[in-house]
């Protein structure tokens, strides 16, 4: 019982981190900007304004990051519903394989997103700014979903 609650909390935490990483425009921050996969916040005259991303971003990689973060969120949320459904329908002694598969897919996609972003964006600007909280949350979410999927593959229903 306790194990199940802990698993659910872990899964929900992973979902929350994924959503924060996807929605919040804070993968890269400098003193006056906070930018990421959807748009750029620019601080002008003590006011934050939302602007478009600069045109020198590699568009295909940017859209790949967008797509994979969204897909990771979707798979993780579906995985949560599948896990709850499997709690009631799975016969005793069987493993939660389908929930594990969904979590593993979410892990894969967020790993793809974070890797592409790390490798292709802001590679020459290390002195100007630093990675923001969305980026860090993306990598933490990768770890959480990985652990979660392993647990689902190993755990048996009592």
């Amino acid at each position: 019982m306790l194990v199940l609650i802990a698993l659910s909390i872990l899964h929900i935490a992973a979902i929350i981190l994924l959503l924060a990483a996807t929605i919040d425009n804070a993968w890269w921050v400098t003193s006056t900007t906070s930018t990421d996969v959807w748009g750029r916040w620019v601080l002008t005259n003590n006011k934050w304004n939302m602007t478009d991303l600069p045109n020198n971003y590699p568009t295909d990689y940017l859209q790949a990051v967008q797509a994979t973060t969204v897909l990771a969120c979707i798979f993780s949320i579906i995985g949560l519903f599948v896990f709850i459904a499997q709690l009631f329908t799975l016969p005793k002694g069987r493993r939660f394989t389908i929930s594990g598969v969904f979590q593993a897919l979410a892990c894969l996609f967020i790993m793809i997103a974070a890797s592409i972003y790390t490798d292709r964006f802001h590679t020459n600007e290390k002195s100007i700014g630093n990675y923001g909280h969305s980026f860090i949350l993306a990598w933490i979410a990768f770890g959480l979903t990985f652990i979660s999927s392993i647990v689902y593959f190993v755990l048996r229903k009592k």
Binding site: L62, Q66, I74
Partner: protein, 284 residues
């Protein structure tokens, strides 16, 4: 109640003609274009009246940050007139078809100074009451990132694959279950169980014999194919009886008899035919 209804209908009929007389003009909300390219600004209208001869379109331009607007294109009395003095000299062309309620213009060779709001005003006498509609033009050096195409493609493909896998999985389960079900029914219903291969081979041979026999004796009749017929015959005397016994569906046997009789074969011939069919089935 009736009085209220009557009053409401009178009020509506009074208001409706006024409301329906207004002309509504449609343009895009915003247009993006590259420097140096051409852009087509579309404008159409909806009017309760037919397009009259005096239909008119007027295009005005208001630069960003300015409050005055200047007229750049006008269509009236069947003739288009375009700017021949201002910033849009020789760059504006009327490309719409007023008879089809289309009053679009084409602006060529865009520049950054063309950023602004273009207002289209259409009038269709006697339908002249209406509000003009505006379209905002944004001129870029390079087109901004269109957040959409690759993103949507990746998401769509992955989710589509997921749905496909789920559907195929449930389809396979359904088909396997149905096959198991049908096999179990056949086991209970029939006296002797035949393999499907054997069934098919015997069926083909039966068909062959059925067509061959009438050729020998009578003009060839047309017999429909006989499903589920695999009689098993063991010895000479009781062959027919046992054959009839082992025919899986009695209906087919009777129908064969009926059909053979229809084509003029006598009873003995019919029986003989079935006899041969049984032999043929045994050969497989």
């Amino acid at each position: 109640m009736l009085r209220v209804l009557a009053l409401a209908s009178v009020v509506l009929l009074g208001i409706a003609p006024q409301a329906s007389q207004a002309i509504t003009v449609y343009t895009s909300w915003e247009r993006h274009a590259l420097v140096g390219s051409d852009v087509r600004l579309s404008c159409s209208f909806f009017s309760w009246r037919f397009v009259s001869e005096d239909v008119s379109f007027t295009w005005r331009y208001r630069p960003d940050g300015s409050r005055d607007s200047v007229s750049i294109a006008h269509y009236a009395g069947g003739e288009p007139y375009t700017d021949n003095k201002g910033a849009f000299k020789d760059r504006v062309e009327f490309v719409g078809n007023p008879k089809r309620r289309d009053g679009s213009i084409l602006i060529k060779n865009l520049d950054f100074s063309d950023n602004g709001t273009f207002t289209c005003d259409a009038k269709n006498p006697p339908d002249i009451v209406g509000r003009p509609s505006s379209v905002r033009l944004l001129v870029f050096e390079t087109l901004p990132i269109q957040a959409g195409v690759i993103t949507g493609a990746i998401i769509g493909v992955v989710l589509g694959l997921l749905v496909l896998i789920v559907v195929i999985y449930y389809l396979m389960r359904f088909l396997v279950a149905r096959r198991v079900f049908s096999l179990s029914v056949s086991k209970h219903g029939k006296k002797k169980k035949e393999g499907s291969q054997q069934r098919q081979a015997s069926f083909l041979l039966l068909l062959f014999f059925l067509f061959l026999l009438p050729l020998l004796q009578y003009p060839p009749p047309l017999l429909p194919p006989l499903p589920h017929m695999h009689p098993v015959c063991s010895d000479k005397r009781n062959r027919l009886a046992r054959c009839h016994h082992h025919m899986t569906i009695w209906r087919d046997y009777n129908s064969i008899q009926r059909l053979l009789r229809e084509f003029g074969m006598r009873k003995r011939v019919v029986k003989g035919n079935i006899h041969l069919l049984c032999m043929a089935a045994q050969l497989t």
